[in-house]
Amino acid sequence: MASSTTGEKKILTLKGGDNEEFILEESLVLQSELLKNMVKEERVSSIPLPSIKSKTLVKIIEYLKKHAELTPSNKEEFKNFEKEFVNVVLEELLDITVAVNYLKINGLLEFCCQAVADRIKDKSVEAVRKIFRIESDFTPEEESEFRKETPEAFEGDLDDTTN
């Protein structure tokens, strides 16, 4: 059992997709259900995470540290940190969301999903397609039928400059 040693803090290495290594206290990664199971079931000191970019991993580790320091007295500060945390370009936000889902960090996942949701709401279909680079694969006939069916879908904020 890896967790049987007591006393000194245990250190773990996470290896990002581009082989960059991150050394951190094991207690921090326990917020991730995936990593928690890995360190509990097997004696590991290094975990390769080839699907996660180092840049994304840096962000996630930053969150884990802040979250570990969360107390009732710095709640406001943490909220501001969270707000800033997701205030990144869309692609980075999606990278973080995918990684957080893979790592199973539940609280952060909910927050990331809300941040993505906020970028979809109040936008027209055209704007969402443009922002998220979604290509319509409907035939022109299908598309015009939908337009007739739900004309309000094509109303809304056309502004996509926020992303």
């Binding site: 996942l109 949701a117 979604i134 694969d137 598309e143 337009r147």
Partner: protein, 249 residues
């Protein structure tokens, strides 16, 4: 560490379609439903995502939005339900200022109880209390039930076999007509919240696994079941505001 090596290589660009279906459903759930419905026009994948979205939330923003349209809220909800594919795990009607007719509410509840509903909220305004359709009482999938301004007459030997949380507000429980002893059997119930409910004490709530009990009312609530079940052995959180518990001997 075979688990670690399964993950694919780093991709250059992440697009939203790379997200797994469960995450995209979560995102859709967090968008106001009228905006979520629009995403069905984005592409074939999004059309399928929308029609299988398992959690449907109709809140005051939805009712506000609908009030500017020609169609009624009930007809839009109905349209969304009939076009839905697969289970409806969460269904929430929440607006303190809007009403739906009894028959519209019935239709929704019967539909979702036949589609694997787990979490149901009915928190709408009304002149009269909504009567719950009997079909709900046999719904084995239900785990969370939150009701406001509802009236339910319990069928004989009522039970919600898997209900974990029951929250009732301004609601009324009535026993089975012509029966002296009325039991509402909630074997899995952990959380019971009663806010300004009347006549709840005419029914014996049998809930041996209760952990959180909260009663807010202005009169004494008497539960015989507390004699029958040694609930105070398990209770961890007890909140009594303006009310008191009396154990009948």
């Amino acid at each position: 560490m075979s688990q670690c090596n399964v993950a694919s290589n780093v991709k250059k660009y992440t697009v939203i379609s790379d997200l797994p279906t469960n995450i995209l459903h979560k995102i859709l759930e967090l968008i106001p439903i009228q905006d979520a419905a629009k995403t069905s026009i984005l592409s074939k994948r999004w059309r399928k995502l929308w029609s299988t979205q398992p959690h449907l939330v109709f809140d005051r923003h939805f009712f506000q939005y609908v009030s500017t349209k020609d169609a009624s809220a009930a007809s839009i909800i109905h349209k969304i339900l009939v076009q839905h594919i697969g289970p409806v795990l969460g269904f929430h009607l929440i607006s303190k200022t809007d009403t739906l007719s009894q028959s519209d509410v019935n239709q929704c509840i019967i539909f979702v109880s036949n589609h694997g509903i787990q979490k149901l909220t009915l928190d709408m305004a009304n002149d009269e209390k909504y009567a719950l359709p009997y079909g709900l009482f046999t719904c084995a999938t239900l785990t969370h039930l939150k009701l406001s301004w509802c009236f339910f007459e319990l069928p004989e030997d009522s039970q919600f076999p898997n209900l974990v949380s029951l929250q009732l507000e301004h609601s009324e429980l009535d026993g089975h007509a012509g029966s002296d002893e009325n039991y509402l059997i909630l074997p899995m119930l952990e959380t019971l919240e009663l806010r300004f409910c009347v006549d709840v004490d005419c029914v014996d709530i049998v809930s041996p696994n209760l952990v959180n009990l909260s009663i807010i009312s202005s009169y004494t609530v008497t539960f015989e079941c507390f004699n029958v079940n040694p609930i105070f052995r398990r209770i961890k959180h007890l909140c009594l505001d303006g009310s008191s518990l009396k154990v009948r001997k």
